[in-house]
Amino acid sequence: MVTKSFIYIITIALIGGICAESCQNPKVEASYFTSLDATVVTQIAYITEFTLKCDNTLPENYGLYAEVDGKSLTAARIGENKYQISWTEEPAKARSGVHQINILDEEGWASLRRARRADPAASVAPLLAIQLSHPGSYSGPWVNSEILATFISILVAYTALRNKSKILA
């Protein structure tokens, strides 16, 4: 009897412990940065920093994981409830637009791994989702300026020559 109740208490405590580990009612304030100039960089960087606010206090080493565009990343802890997620991409492959970052805590991550083992396309409801908008990077002008200047000046000179011969005709 004592053993049974003891087991119950331990189980409840464990479950309680697990529940307490997870973030209740998560609220996030996020900022992001992406490389806007692709002329001298070899990779385009995407960085997002966010502050997580929960109704309950989070444990010391509360880890977060992220999945974006099929990539699995770990969130780096940069301060009290502040995390940073970053990745790089080839300039040719980097697409502009909104990138959805799904953030999961350890529990969610573990359940995702378990689900993926059975079905690779499985997904788990994320703890929170951040949208990172990349406006595109500038990789240089379409037409080189000296070629454009040459072309325009030749056009104008040709017009001038033609008109002159018309006048003198």
Partner: protein, 183 residues
Amino acid sequence: MSGKNNKAFTKEEELLLQDFSRNVSTKSSALFYGNAFIVSAIPIWLFWRVHSLEISTAIIWFILVTAASTWLLALAYRNTKFQLKHRVAVRREDAVAREMSRKLADDKKMSRKEKDERILWKKNEVADYEATTYSIFYNNALFLTIVILSSFYILRTFTPTVNYIVSLTAASGLLALLSTGTK
């Protein structure tokens, strides 16, 4: 009366002389030299910013070449204007005559001779102005095209100083030479 006739006659002669002379009025001359100076000075900015030619090292060359180019371009403007003026006058004379006749038709006090004189004067003025502006446009267009082509393509491998000197003197020299042609 006879004095007035003499005056009218002399004015026609004056116009004819002006027509056939290559000299330009002070105002035209100022316009030509001013324009030539501005257009010759523009490539300085091009060479400084794009071809990395330091102003402090090449200032003497800038001054000399700009002066030479200004003079040559002004010469080209003058000669081209002279070439064009007659042809422009021929093209515009009917339109000018029509417009002036319409304007002066109501004025009964003016004699026929004076009206003709005014029409002639207006034709000359219009042809002068059109030839001047077209000459400036034509020479500027060719000058800038030659400078761009020679500095970016032909003389690409030379040092910026040499590039500058040769591009500008070649462009303005070529234009001055072409303008002295008979056709």
